[in-house]
């Protein structure tokens, strides 16, 4: 833990979101090609209207690097399935890739399934190094936060209807 204060400089430089120059020598820095792919061809970047009753918004942050991650899901009320997803992340390549992967994986799944998505699965898929594991954790938390928000909304709307 003590290393974190001193080592934060290093993390800040690497994680910093200096994404283009950092990913250019991808081989040297060791970013897995999937991370590079998600960075160069991000899927599902965008925003849903967060007041839309079918939308759940998960907004999370990692204070270690000052990253912000927003993941939104659109749920079909009848089936309880996620029909679409969008994300917006300000952070390092690994954080962006993790949320991009998350936005893909939630599509077509039930809520119970998506809350079961583990950060370790995302990290494995992207071959994230240990120092970037927290990025995948952030994505897992974002999914859960989006579900929580959707459920909370439903409860609120149900109460309003009574």
């Amino acid at each position: 833990m003590m290393l974190r204060v001193v080592g934060k400089r290093l993390l800040g430089a690497a994680a910093g979101g200096q994404a283009s120059p950092a990913l250019a020598p991808a081989a040297r820095r060791g970013y897995h090609e999937r991370v590079v792919d998600h960075y160069n061809n991000p899927r599902n970047v965008g925003t849903f209207d967060k007041d839309d009753p079918d939308v759940g918004t998960g907004l999370v942050g990692a204070p270690a690097c000052g990253d912000v991650m927003k993941l939104q899901i659109r749920v079909d009320e009848g089936s309880g399935r996620v029909v679409d997803a969008r994300f917006k992340t300000f952070g390092c390549g690994s954080a962006i890739a993790s949320s991009s992967v998350a936005s893909e994986w939630v599509k077509g799944k039930q809520m119970e399934e998506i809350v079961a998505i583990k950060n370790t699965e995302i990290a494995k898929h992207l071959s994230l190094p240990p120092v970037k594991l927290h990025c995948s954790m952030l994505a897992e938390d974002a999914i859960k936060a989006a579900v929580k928000d959707y459920e909370a909304k439903k409860v609120k709307l149900a109460k309003a209807d009574e």
Binding site: M1, V5, R9, V60, G61, A62, G66, M137
Partner: protein, 266 residues
Amino acid sequence: MWRRAGAGRIRLHLNAAAAAAAAGRRVRRPLLPPIPTAPSSSASCSSPSGHNLGIIRDSIRAPSRSLSNQASRGGDGGSVCWSCGARGAFLSCGSCGSVQPIDPAVDYFQIFGLKREYNIKDNSLEGKYKDWQKKLHPDLVHTKSEKERGFAAEQSALVIDAYRTLSRPLSRALYLLLLEGIHVDEEKTISDPELLMEMMEIREAVNDASDSQTLEKIQSQIKRKLETWSDSFQEAFDKRDFDRAVEATQRMKYYERAMEETVKKL
């Protein structure tokens, strides 16, 4: 979110100036005059609440430490020089100039002769930093023994770390918390909607900004926020409200990150 580490990991250690006054007493804080950054009335009001409690806490925790410190230190502050035996050696010996081995009890504030507080007059930092490097830099010890060259490498690296940590507000704040035994679990996700939404907006604004004027405007907004939260840290830390102090550093981190992005774009 944060936890207090075991006592006594980093110990204050008397510097030569305070040596005579503090010798023989349990209290080990260096008795430096407060740095005049504020009107004297407020300075005298703000320091006692924080520092006195700290002193009490430290001496209750590990009273034996101060005695053993004194024993190994020759009783009058600083250490005994390995080369010439003179007392009061601090990083390098005042008598023969030999570079000393790292003393883990020395903290960054002591290296720069500063009181352990957040508000420091850092315009003297650079001068002191250069003075230290004139005494410690490895390039200056070519002809010395391998042992001493090793000390020089470590000491000058330590001084560099100290300088970097103390010269920036956020790192200084985190270091102060560290010295209090507060380890911030930085990998924990936060979900404070107000902070995150604000950060999203700022980062989006930076992203969308197309001219330097807009960016500079955003920069000055961020700067003001940083100052606000910097003051908030000071206040919380002085009151030893460590929860709020940690919260303030998290905010500062976010704003600094946003600032970095604006700088990159400019």
